[in-house]
Symmetry: C2
């Protein structure tokens, strides 16, 4: 579960991923599935108007709590002027596209590494269509979020397109966005 | 559609939101629905291993293309060491929680402003459960993304909890995550 090699043993890397550690992780999870239970956590605070800030301290996984060693990470949301904001940061739906781009890329890279497929470069372009009438409550037949998202990934690799497309099917964020998910929102008075 | 007031007229703000401009936007969209058609865009590039970077230059909305005046924004994804990464940035599913927290907050703030509800403070805590066996392909019955997401929002306001809960139902990211959405991923050889 770590990228530390035993002393005197050079780990095998593919696509910058420690493949020995990846297979060790798979074997560890097979032997003890509770290792696979992760919980990601974050807190957020409103800073006024369109501006709010998240803090990411750590997470739970592999049977213990972890702090982000290079954290805590802070992330800001804002809105552009045309959406009545100060434009100081990306907005939440742009972060959704960022999460999707990153997860598709990392999933392709890790699964390619596990299958012995080398990648030279990966880049992607994303578009998400959003009809503001949903958010504004002007038409109940218009959904509030994206109506559709398009992703084009350009990959330099000896592997064929079908193989590369099969790898990204394992992406957690692709699953989160494309499929429905129970989201429990509770509001409490402070 | 802007937060510029007419010369000599002080705009009305509530919760830091220009309520006059918000109602002008609503009226403009009612008169010309194509104003509501937004397209958010982003590009991403793999930097090796667990690390990739998105660039957000601009978007389309209100019938024209806009550059982020304080951008382009760059956003990094990475993975912590226990997930075989260098831990230099949040990971994609943490960005999903950030997008959700921000969107619920901004939605509450804007819709409260429109209804004349003042908010003093908004903070939130989020948790997302993820069973890594889905990503690893070890069990087809385990989903790859979050199995569930919990959000607790703490709000200082004279409004009651039911009113506050009704406001966040307009959140685009809540819609994106909680409901299924067509995501078209195409892979091309570079």
């Amino acid at each position: 579960m770590t990228n530390q090699a035993a002393v005197g043993t050079a780990p095998t890397f593919n696509n910058g991923v420690n493949v020995d550690a990846l297979f060790e992780t798979v074997e560890a999870v097979k032997a003890a599935p509770q290792i696979a239970d992760f919980q990601f956590r974050l807190s957020n605070r409103w800073l006024g108007g369109d501006h709010n800030r998240s803090t990411v301290v750590g997470f739970h996984g592999a049977c213990e709590d972890h702090d982000h060693m290079k954290g805590p990470f802070t992330l800001d949301n804002a809105e552009p002027p045309v959406l009545l904001g100060g434009g100081t940061a990306p907005n939440p739906v742009e972060y959704i596209l960022h999460a999707l781009a990153g997860c598709l890329t990392t999933t392709m890279v890790y699964h390619a590494a596990a299958r012995g497929v080398s990648l030279t470069s990966v880049s992607s372009e994303l578009e998400g269509d959003l009809d503001l009438r949903g958010f504004l409550g002007l038409d109940e037949t218009v959904r509030k979020g994206f109506s559709t998202v398009r992703v084009t990934m350009r990959v330099e690799s000896e592997a064929d397109v079908e193989t590369l497309e099969s790898l990204v099917q394992f992406s957690p964020v692709y699953d989160i966005i494309s499929k429905s998910l129970p989201v429990d929102v509770r509001v409490e008075k402070a």
